[in-house]
């Protein structure tokens, strides 16, 4: 399992590839890899968004992510998990988060990945402040249910 908070922009596919190659224990064992990538949009709630700042609570954020991943691995037979989440100043089109889950069979990969992502959205202490094209800054008040 690996959980990373990144102050720098990152390439999610490269992170997944490097981690997969470095994990000797799961070589030959995994039949399914679920990769979720969250990326910054240039629009939200009817406004043009030109930038975003992501704040976190150093220490608690990592602790909560570890707890969430531990809950997923106790609920599904997961071989390995990688979570990378960006903080700091972000521009549209840059990745915010990648959650990769390796399992023997696809169902568990989908389910564990969904669980981690939804729990991250409600429990991991990150906060987004958007900078709108109109030069207004606004804090996001809550996350959506993911279907808008």
């Amino acid at each position: 399992m690996n959980i990373k908070i990144s102050l720098e922009a990152f390439d999610p596919m490269r992170e997944v590839q490097i981690y997969q190659h470095s994990s000797k224990e799961m070589a030959g064992k995994f039949g399914a890899t679920s990769i979720f990538i969250g990326t910054m949009r240039d629009f939200n709630e009817g406004n043009d968004v030109i930038g975003m700042t992501l704040e976190h609570y150093p220490g608690m954020t990592e602790k909560q992510l570890e707890k969430i991943v531990a809950e997923a691995t106790s609920q599904w037979p997961v071989l390995d998990v990688l979570v990378v989440h960006r903080v700091g100043d972000i521009l549209p089109n840059e990745p915010i988060v990648v959650v990769a889950v390796w399992t023997s069979h696809r169902g568990n990969a989908f389910d564990a990945s969904r669980y981690i992502m939804e729990a991250l959205k409600t429990k991991a202490p990150f906060w987004k402040k958007e900078l709108l094209k109109s030069d207004v800054e606004r804090w996001l008040v809550k996350n959506t249910d993911g279907y808008l």
């Binding site: 608690m60 602790k63 915010i96 988060v97 429990k123 202490p125 906060w127 402040k129 809550k142």
Partner: protein, 77 residues
């Protein structure tokens, strides 16, 4: 007892500070810690609280040396 209180995101901005260091006598709940630190401002309804980086209820008690944090609903991912 000594309690470090931390604030994050929009709550930090509206209070104009990121933390307080309190010295108080006797036991206190998380809710009371907020009132000691912010006697003139009610804790916003939807705010979350943590003690030593784990989520807690406002009626939970704190002990000497604890770090108490207050913050708005999280919006990561």
């Amino acid at each position: 007892m000594s309690i470090r209180v931390r604030y994050f995101a929009s709550l930090k901005e509206s209070l104009g500070r990121s933390e307080d260091n309190l010295e108080i006598d006797g036991l206190a709940t998380v809710n009371e810690i907020w009132r000691y630190a912010n006697p003139d401002k009610a804790l916003p309804d939807n705010c979350l609280a943590a003690v030593n980086m784990a989520y807690v209820n406002l009626i939970d008690t704190v002990k000497d040396g604890d770090e108490v944090a207050f913050f708005p609903p999280v919006t990561g991912g």
